[in-house]
């Protein structure tokens, strides 16, 4: 009889000392297609780390390599310092929460949660105790004897989480775990997941295509595109200082205005206007760049302050969102700007600008990013 031997590691309660995961030049090819292209990554213990990107960017393949379901074509994967590329999933001290939950329909909730502990030959009374604890953690203590088919989507999600966490893995892998839930429940689970992660102190690697989800839950985010990591950093960093056009466009809405570098600190845009902007040192005159300004950084008419770059345009659309209103302004020559206007305590956002109105728009030069 084969035996799954796994060394259990207790998560350090203070978290954060040492490295949970390290990827070195990890590449995964399927035939001619390169799904993951030589990525390097280091995730410290106790971190809530997100892999964010559109479908097909390689985030799920990366997660599956961490779980052991895919073997990297090249590169090394270190789990708590030990290389694991050739270790099968059942000998890795990681557990996964599947997108489809993958609960065992022939077992009740308690037996689903106990599955991993039983395979590891944990003593029976300890299994009972840990299963109870795990179900309490996800507030499902009363449903231990239910079949998964009798539970709601949100409850199934919790069972899947408890089934993975009960094993106290070194790293918990989550593959778009909230994707099947409706918006309200998803928001609620985001908060809960984050709380649970703080409580248990286990390293979470969270795969999602939802940028809002990643921004609100993560300690750090790796934005992936075409099999590589475009940018890796804290949520504020990737949002405020995207290092390339893809990141700026993928995270949040961003205005992109094409222009040509005229000289240090000056870019000429399509309308012919010269704009003062923080041109990076490695850009030469004549380079084509994208100017990126977040919609919430754009001021309209009386909001414009001294020192702002100003332009005029015409309102072409206005979309009311309740808490704010999205206004699209045409600057001429095909250049558009999207501005988000907050509803404030003095004004509701929809009563100020009408379609067709001539408006002045402006932004502070430091709120503009120059991306190549």
């Amino acid at each position: 009889m084969e035996q799954a031997t796994v060394n259990e590691t207790q998560p350090s309660p203070e978290g954060g000392n040492g490295e949970a995961i390290r990827l070195e030049g990890v590449t995964k090819r399927f035939g001619d297609f390169t799904a993951v292209d030589a990525i390097d990554l280091s995730i410290p213990r106790g971190e809530f780390f997100s892999l964010l990107g559109p479908s097909g960017c390689g985030k799920t393949t990366t997660l599956r390599m961490l779980a052991g379901f895919e073997v990297p074509s090249e590169g090394r994967i270190l789990l708590e310092g030990e290389p694991v590329e050739d270790v099968p999933p059942y000998r890795r001290n990681v557990n996964m929460v599947f997108q489809s939950y993958a609960l065992f329909g022939h077992l009740d909730v308690a037996d689903n949660v106990a599955f991993g502990l039983k395979r590891r030959k944990v003593p029976k009374d300890e299994i009972g105790r840990r299963v109870d604890e795990a179900l309490e953690l996800v507030s499902l203590g009363s449903r231990a004897k239910s079949r998964p088919s009798e539970l709601s989507g949100g409850q199934r999600q919790r069972v899947a989480l408890a089934r993975a966490l009960v094993n106290r893995p070194a790293v918990l892998l989550l593959d778009e775990p909230l994707g099947a839930l409706d918006l309200k429940l998803r928001r609620q689970m985001q908060v809960e997941l984050k709380q649970i992660q703080r409580e248990v102190g286990i390293t979470f690697v969270y795969v999602t295509h939802d940028q809002e989800e990643a921004l609100s839950m993560s300690d750090r985010i790796a934005v992936m595109s075409d099999g590589r990591i475009a940018q890796c950093g804290a949520p504020e960093e990737v949002y405020e200082h995207p290092n390339e056009e893809f990141v700026a466009g993928f995270i949040g809405i961003s205005n992109m205005i094409e222009g040509v570098v005229e000289g240090p600190g000056s870019v000429k845009i399509g309308t012919g206007k010269r704009i003062q902007a923080p041109v990076p040192a490695d850009c030469d005159a004549g380079d084509t760049v994208q100017l990126s300004v977040r919609p919430e950084k754009i001021a309209i008419d009386e909001e414009i302050e001294a020192g702002m770059i100003e332009m005029t345009g015409r309102v072409v659309s206005r979309i009311y969102h309740g808490v704010n209103t999205q206004i699209t302004v045409e600057l001429g020559q095909g250049a558009h700007l999207v501005a988000l206007e907050q509803a404030t305590y003095t004004a509701s956002a929809d009563d100020r600008w009408e379609e067709g109105m001539e408006v002045r728009v402006g932004w502070h030069p430091e709120n503009c990013l120059v991306l190549r």
Partner: protein, 294 residues
């Protein structure tokens, strides 16, 4: 209450098309069975003709201890057949369902095509292969592996072998279907939760495909109990099965009433098994998610 089958008028529409099939079944299926049932209470006169009556003698004869070995042998052969079909068929179904890829449908077709050839004809082919002077024995002699040849025919092994060959596909298809329905991430979840491949098979795959296994066993066991072809062609006096006993009443012994009584007993016996299976299947149908992943 609006049903999925449609409204009242479409129910009437479809009822009309039920008529030809209904009449066909009534005349050619229900009536003959009633004749068999009626005949089972009759007797054979001195000239060997079947006469309808109301006697229970045939049923008394059917439960004669003389036939108990025949019945037990039939059940034994059928159980062995179902067991071998399961052991042979599960890996085949598993391979095709999990690793068949684009060739899945071709592989299934290759399995089914031999079964377009009549069972009797295929069993004759086995006789030609396994006879004392058959192809297998002459090959073995030519290779010098045996001097006298090995006796295959007239043994229980040949009869069960013929039955396995005859019914294997009925085991493979339902198991294949249940494996196809199963969510592959369940197997990954099993491995992720420290299950070695053999443990995952025992604790996840097998329970998840229980309905397919059960259906396959019923589809193999029931016809195998009543089979007479394999025992007649590949067996001898020691492999005599219930099917052969019934067949002989109609042809060799010309005792149709007794043959009919045996048939009725047999049908009732098999119906009990069938009902058991249907009840279990209905239980799963009420709770469909219990059979699959969530």
């Amino acid at each position: 209450m609006p049903g999925v089958a449609g409204d009242v008028s479409s129910k009437g529409f479809w009822s009309r098309f039920l008529l030809p099939g209904g009449v066909w079944l009534l005349l050619l299926f229900v009536v003959p069975i009633c004749l068999v049932l009626a005949l089972s209470f009759g007797y054979t006169d001195d000239l060997g003709r079947a006469v309808y009556s109301f006697g229970l003698e045939n049923y008394q004869d059917a439960f004669d201890p003389l036939y108990i070995p025949v019945l037990l042998r039939s059940i034994g052969f059928a159980v062995a057949t179902a067991a071998f079909c399961l052991l042979l068929g599960y890996p085949i179904a598993y391979y095709i369902a999990r690793y068949g890829g684009r060739r899945k449908h071709i592989l299934i077709a290759l399995l089914v095509i031999p079964f377009f050839v009549n069972y009797l004809v295929r069993t004759y082919a086995w006789v030609a292969l396994l006879a004392d002077e058959g192809l297998v024995n002459s090959a073995l002699k030519d290779l010098g592996l045996t001097e006298t040849g090995i006796q295959f025919v007239n043994t229980p092994y040949a009869v069960v072998g013929g039955l396995v060959y005859g019914y294997l596909v009925f085991m493979i298809l339902p198991i294949y279907a249940s494996l196809e329905r199963m969510d592959g991430s369940l197997i990954e979840a099993g491995k992720d939760l420290f299950g070695t491949p053999s443990r995952v098979f025992m604790h996840v795959t097998l329970p998840q495909t229980k309905q397919g296994i059960l259906a396959g066993c019923v589809l193999v066991f029931l016809p195998a109990v009543g089979d007479f072809v394999s025992a007649q062609l590949l067996g001898g006096p020691d492999t005599y099965m219930v099917g052969n006993l019934i067949q002989d009443q109609f042809f060799a012994a010309s005792n149709w009433p007794f043959g009919s009584a045996l048939t009725v007993v047999m049908m009732l016996f098999l119906s009990i098994w069938m009902l058991g299976y249907l009840r279990s299947a209905a239980r799963e149908a009420r709770d469909p998610v219990a059979a699959g992943g969530v």
